[in-house]
């Protein structure tokens, strides 16, 4: 019964055209970045960095490397936007359209309904993250050969060095990073979902969620606050990038992962409490 209802939620979510805006924008952005790499001299800096470190550039200037370069800006800017859009819609759009009243004329509890909706949103976040990785790699494979992975060490900034991995290691790092990227997608979706449970318009829920994220990112990136970066959710949302470090800090990753689980549970609980108390009126 629960799975049947979840299937119905997914029909609703994936039957809407606006759900695919994110997928469409990703395809465009990925192809634009890959084509820039292919047809400009942008790969020159990567080549110089590799050769300067004593690595053969041809072995690491690959589809996986380019796909990794593509995912970083897309995951930073576009992913939060589209998952927040979907999360903000989940409850507020149904309330705005009036379908929520139709649903709540049925003997389904509000908590169960929210659980279904959150799960549908989470599945969307997972699929978006995985599609981002898959299509990035596929498009990059059209223009670049297969091989190892070169990744800038983002943890210490673009100038802070790079890591290189062999073909198999690089592929698994790439897949694992995208699996962890799903935690970022789910958390931002969950934050927008929280606001969506209040009596507000879907667009407002999306904007408030993104504002919270941007404020976190601004605070985290002020150089004087570097000692406090672990206080900000955006720091933990970057967990996926740590898969590209030569030695991923497993303890810190586990800590961030557990914090994200806590954030998600809190967002859901607050949203559910607000939704439970609301009067649903036309």
């Amino acid at each position: 019964m629960f799975l049947l209802q979840l299937k119905h939620e997914l029909w609703k979510l994936f039957g809407k055209k606006r759900t695919y805006i994110g997928f469409g924008a990703f395809l465009l952005a990925q192809n634009a970045v890959i084509l820039m790499f292919r047809f400009t001299k942008a790969t020159g800096a990567i080549r110089r960095a590799l050769e300067g470190g004593g690595y053969p550039a041809e072995a690491f200037l690959t589809a996986t490397t380019i796909a990794t370069q593509v995912v970083i800006p897309v995951a930073f800017l576009l992913l939060p936007l589209y998952v927040a859009l979907v999360g903000g819609d989940l409850v507020a759009k149904e309330a705005e359209d009036g379908t929520l009243r139709m649903i709540l004329a049925r003997p389904i509890s509000r908590l169960r309904l929210l659980t279904l909706k959150w799960l549908a949103g989470a599945l969307f976040g997972i699929s978006l993250s995985l599609m981002l990785g898959l299509f990035g790699w596929l498009f990059a494979s059209i223009w670049f050969p297969q091989g190892g992975l070169f990744a800038i060490q983002l943890e210490s900034g673009p100038a802070g060095g790079f890591a290189v991995f062999g073909t198999a290691e690089g592929a698994w790092r790439y897949v694992a990073a995208h699996a962890l990227l799903a935690t970022k997608a789910i958390t931002i979706m969950g934050l927008a979902f929280l606001f969506s449970c209040f009596n507000m318009k879907p667009a407002a829920a999306t904007i408030v969620a993104l504002s919270v994220m941007f404020v976190n990112a601004i605070l985290m990136n002020i150089p004087w606050f570097v000692d406090y970066k672990a206080w900000f959710i955006t720091h933990h949302l970057n967990l996926w990038q740590w898969m590209f470090l030569q030695s991923p800090p497993r303890t810190r990753m586990a800590e961030s992962l557990s914090l994200l689980v806590g954030f998600n549970l809190t967002f859901f609980a607050v949203g559910a409490a607000a939704f439970q108390m609301r009067d649903i009126k036309s």
């Binding site: 209802q5 609703k12 139709m102």
Partner: protein, 306 residues
């Protein structure tokens, strides 16, 4: 089937429903009447557990709506004033989704209900291609899918053209006659209620001002139609005797308080006037409603129960 006890809802400073008591027996078509903002939709919201009451109790099918909502609503279908659906999905898929919140539904049952409401052949089209009338029928289909015992209709004819209104009225009659459903019909369209309901409750400014049968509402207590040979003389004589307070139109008498038609007949015979016919005059629901509202506006509306 429905039992409300001292139900009250306050939104901020505004009292939306005030101390509403109601009993809707099984098997009736019950009208919930009132002007826009009288508290009808808020009452329905509370009946469905969508609106939390400030105080009071609501029971549906014997179960408390607020503590046992899933049982209370297990055999309830509802339609709201503007039928809304997932426009980008087909009618069939909408039915599957909405019915799925009650429980799994067999395709045969969906097919049966689609045929009952007359949507066969259009159920695989996206709802965005449906006319308003078709949406109303789809709304009815989704309400019927869980095989309800109670159907709650909140302004179901809103936005329908005259043909659609007629069709909806006939459908409600069929639902009652063929399926034996108890129907709670909320409306401000008095003619609809008069044609469909056997019992009514009137809400005015959040309070109940009438609760009783439609027959009681449309029967005037003191106005009778009298057929006699010399109506003006008879009227004058009856007025002189204090049996009536007025006579008009060549055949209508207004009885004095406590005087029955039989007393009038007896006096007429004593005075030698022939009585060809005498009967109480029926009032339209519209006149009854307007007089109720007028009285309620003049005085503190004390609920009337007949």
């Amino acid at each position: 089937m429905i039992q409300l006890q001292a139900l009250r809802k306050v939104f901020g400073q505004r009292v939306a429903v005030d101390g509403f008591d109601l009993r809707v027996p099984r098997g009736v078509v019950f009208g919930l009447l009132g002007h826009n903002g009288a508290g009808k939709s808020t009452t329905i919201g509370m009946l469905l557990g969508q609106v939390w009451p400030t105080s009071g109790e609501a029971r549906v099918c014997g179960h408390d709506v607020f503590s046992n909502r899933s049982r209370a609503l297990a055999r309830v279908g509802a339609i709201f004033e503007t039928p809304v659906f997932y426009d980008y999905l087909t009618g069939w898929r909408n039915l599957e989704i909405l019915a799925g919140y009650t429980g799994p539904v067999a395709p045969e049952r969906i097919r049966e209900v689609v045929a009952w409401v007359g949507l066969t052949g259009r159920d695989q089209s996206p709802v965005r291609t449906y006319s308003h009338g078709m949406r109303a029928r789809l709304a009815l289909a989704q309400a019927l899918l869980p095989a309800p015992e109670l159907l709650i209709l909140d302004e179901p004819t809103n936005g329908l053209d005259p043909e659609g209104i007629h069709e909806m009225r006939e459908t409600i009659r069929r639902l009652h006659a063929e399926l034996g459903l108890t129907i709670l019909l909320s409306s401000h369209l008095l003619s609809e209620v008069q044609q469909l309901c056997s019992r009514i409750t009137v809400l005015h400014q959040a309070r109940k001002v009438f609760d009783g049968s439609l027959a009681d509402a449309t029967r005037t207590r003191n106005r009778v139609r009298l057929l006699t040979d010399d109506f003006p003389s008879a009227g004058t004589a009856l007025h002189r005797d204090g049996l009536i307070t007025g006579h008009e139109g060549g055949e209508f008498l207004t009885l004095a308080e406590g005087i029955s038609p039989s007393t009038v007949v007896k006096r007429m015979v004593e005075l030698g006037f022939p009585v060809h016919a005498i009967h109480r005059e029926e009032e339209t629901l519209e006149n009854f409603y307007l007089s109720l509202v007028k009285n309620a506006a003049q005085t503190d509306p004390t609920p009337v129960t007949r």
